[in-house]
Symmetry: C2
Subunit: 310 residues, 2 copies
């Protein structure tokens, strides 16, 4: 098939392209390099099954032209602002890069008659659930970040477009994803700070904030496995059962950097920053019952990522 | 207080302004007359407590200027596309008039420091729940119309802005609202068709589609009563316990038009049009427990509205 990967020069998108190419598909990649990088897709440049368009996915007229020309069979929507801290100071980023990109892709699908969609959603749509294990049928969807708000809005529009146009949609809600090609986040910050000054390590919050970290190749594996969905919206929480606290990440970073006895200095408080969900647990029964499990635990994914960042 | 009513020249917005003026507040009204009309606010023209701006609420720069100049205390966001059938053919209307207006107002609130918001949401965020009585804690939010999708997206963004900026937000999810100044919908269609040709009445669907219709002054009464909310988002389903089927509406229209024995011709099928939710029931326990009930039943609201339309 011909797969259009929106945000394909990004961290997750570029890995997904690798997997789709391996399975024999043709790729149309659209990215504006807002967060994605040329480096992530450099190895694909000469591949005859890979085509690239540098475009802003919120530019409806231009994206529609690409749809009309390329007539893709399947849209993988991986484009979004993935830096929650950045948009905390400028919510317009989420309106433009997370919500509007979704609307533009849906409207292009409707106009051109594309029926298949994968949407990369997030645990952030649930908001702060006080550590309760949230399932896909969670009662409350109360995002506390602009990113989560824009992703929930995208899901709402997808639900409507799916019903109105008989789409086959797969939505994954996943937590923090890490691994090769990662460009920002707590692991990066710790490595950077310790390289600059290894006399101590400053940690936002009290260090007990704990999250499940999924390895990017595990996530891509799940997308490939479930991408052929029936009519309507199929929704899964995707993640790992284990979690890693911020203090544990700091320990793993120090261990891998062979730094011993570094004092950790906590800024204190419950969360790293406003809009951050300090403790989060996922109910993964649905995808487990469908026969899928992540290969790596959260700690394993962190350790492997630290090795690559160094 | 100074209340900014977005979409204040519309059907519900203009009634809300009347109630706010009666309670002694100053009004800043913004409307682009996309659906709202000059007629709805004509009686307010000379009122020294009423100010009007003809602007598109999705025009961020212009709306921000108005916020900065007027420094409102409370935003009543009544602006949206209310014609679900129109946007079924052009979803861009919902992106622009329903979702983007919400984002612009929220971002202006953040920039100028306005803390109070009322948001007019809808039963359409629930989607089709097979006649189940949905409560505010309904498990699934699966809109089947672009309108419902854009409203759910608005709620998601409101949740995030509320958390990030310590807002006091009241959200009402309400069904079909009818009464004086109504401009479209099934009651209008039936009256119009019968005035043109009273030999028969064509009815979309099988006539069993049944919905709760709330009288506009009942809805405004609830907004006025609950508008002072604590920090965070307070969400209510607002409506009437009774319902009126499409066939019953046709009967009431014929009765009021003194037409007897008109044959009803059904187009058949389960819904009036795609994206229409044919049977819908509301769980209203939460607002009833808070001490509020609608004064008029659904049939009474229909009958009163038919009298005004004639």
């Amino acid at each position: 098939m011909k797969a259009l990967v929106a945000g394909g020069a990004g961290f997750i998108g570029s890995h997904l392209i690798d997997a789709l190419l391996t399975e024999g598909h043709d790729i149309v990649c659209i990215d504006n390099f807002f967060i994605g990088t040329k480096k992530n897709i450099r190895h694909l440049k000469e591949n005859p099954h890979f085509q690239f368009y540098e475009e802003d996915l919120s530019n409806f007229d231009r994206i529609l032209e690409i749809f009309q020309k390329e007539q893709p069979d399947y849209i993988f929507h991986m484009a979004a602002n993935s830096d929650i801290q950045a948009s905390a100071n400028n919510p317009m980023i989420e309106y433009q890069n997370t919500y509007s990109t979704t609307f533009v892709l849906l409207e292009c699908m409707r106009r051109v008659g594309v029926k298949n969609l994968f949407f990369a959603s997030t645990s952030a749509v649930y908001g702060e659930q006080m550590g309760a294990e949230v399932s896909e049928k969670a009662a409350a969807l109360e995002p506390i970040s602009y990113y989560g708000g824009a992703k929930l809005g995208s899901e709402g529009m997808i639900s409507a477009f799916s019903y109105m146009n008989d789409l086959n949609v797969l939505i994954f809600r996943f937590p923090n994803v890490i691994g090769p090609r990662l460009t920002h986040g707590v692991i990066f910050d710790f490595v950077k700070r310790l390289k600059e000054d290894s006399s101590h390590l400053r940690i936002l919050g009290d260090g007990t904030q704990s999250k499940p970290y999924i390895y990017v190749l595990d996530l891509v594996d799940a997308i490939m496995r479930f991408k052929d969905t029936p009519k309507g919206v199929t929704l899964y929480n995707v993640g790992v059962e284990t979690q890693t606290s911020v203090t544990r990440i700091a320990e793993i970073v120090c261990e891998k950097m062979k730094l011993e006895g570094i004092p950790f200095e906590y800024t204190g408080g419950r969360g790293g920053w406003k809009g951050d969900v300090p403790v989060f647990a996922y109910n993964l029964d649905k995808i487990h019952e469908a026969g899928w499990h992540a290969h790596m635990t959260s700690d394993e994914a962190v350790a492997k990522t630290v090795e690559m960042v160094l």
